[in-house]
């Protein structure tokens, strides 16, 4: 059994293997994972909107011991990740990190948000440092404005 704690390291190896077949294969795989998450959280986000996103990531923050700040406004939910446990584990590993490791988050969250009618903006500060910022908007226009900043 690959322990849950090591899953992200296996994930990192799968990304390398699938990407070796072509980038489109990798994107298709991430989308498929997003579809598998729809069953669990897509409906919750669709019904509960930004508050449901906030509640979901509040639990994730505790369960996965994330150093992150969560904010909820009338317009958006924001996850400001100061130290991502997932990339940290991949970096703390005998195997090398996949260069686009961070992009998998956007890859699986986007289909979930599309299902929920919400709009995701992902700001990857650095792909080699475990920090990033995710904002989820109710309004597509406001999301696009933030994306353009």
């Amino acid at each position: 059994m690959i322990p849950s704690d090591h899953f992200v390291r296996y994930y990192n190896e799968v990304f390398k293997a699938v990407d070796s077949l072509g980038r489109d294969h990798l994107y298709a795989y991430w989308r498929k994972l997003g579809e598998s998450q729809i069953q669990k959280i897509g409906e919750k986000f669709r019904k509960g909107g930004l508050e449901a996103c906030y509640e979901y990531w509040k639990v994730i923050k505790e369960e996965e011991n994330c150093d992150a700040q969560l904010s909820l406004t009338d317009d958006y939910f924001e996850l400001d990740m100061k130290r991502c446990p997932s990339l940290s584990k991949v970096l703390d590993n005998d195997a090398s990190p996949f260069p686009l490791y961070c992009d998998h988050c956007m890859g699986w969250i986007r289909p979930v948000m599309e299902y929920a009618g919400l709009h995701l903006v992902f700001d990857i500060n650095s792909r080699i440092e475990p920090r990033c910022r995710i904002r989820i908007y109710k309004d597509r226009f406001k999301a696009e404005l933030f994306q353009a900043e």
């Binding site: 059994m1 690959i2 322990p3 849950s4 704690d5 090591h6 899953f7 390291r9 296996y10 994930y11 990192n12 190896e13 799968v14 390398k16 293997a17 699938v18 077949l21 795989y29 498929k32 994972l33 598998s36 998450q37 669990k40 994730i60 996965e64 997932s86 590993n93 005998d94 195997a95 090398s96």
Partner: protein, 135 residues
């Protein structure tokens, strides 16, 4: 992220889309690159790190298991696998290839070492993993 759900979805997707050999390749990468240190010890003839790894993660994830030595063999008997238990509790369809992670990682860990690791799936959520010196 729901790790076991995603692991199951990944195994299912890779096996269906790319076939079993490709899936085995990913487990081999895991065994050779991520578990490099365990494999280096096995090559030196020392299985201690692997046994500790099994016990540590099964304790942490509340698995039910027994480890016993019988002569030169070390038996790791899994009575309740925490990953299978979780998937069952969540009513998730378990990929028929799910346990091949254990079989193939063990096989790849033992490659080019003095050991062989035989994995026998004995039921849904139970298996026996045996480490012994190659004849």
């Amino acid at each position: 992220m729901d790790f076991y759900r995603t692991l199951n979805a990944t195994i299912s997707y890779i096996a269906e889309r790319y076939g079993e050999d490709f899936l085995k390749k990913t487990f081999r990468m895991m065994a050779h690159d991520v578990y490099r240190s365990i494999r280096e010890d096995l090559r030196k003839g020392d299985p201690k790190q692997l046994i500790e790894h099994w016990a540590y993660y099964f304790d942490r994830e509340n698995g039910e298991y027994e480890i016993c030595r019988q002569g030169d063999e070390i038996n790791f008997k899994v009575n309740k696998c925490p990953a299978i238990r979780y998937l069952q509790e969540q009513h998730i369809n378990i990929s028929p290839h799910f346990c091949s992670q254990t079989v193939e990682v063990n096989k790849a860990l033992a490659e080019d070492t003095p050991f062989e690791i035989i994995t026998k799936i004995t039921g849904r959520g139970s298996c026996r993993q045996v480490i012994r010196k190659r004849p």
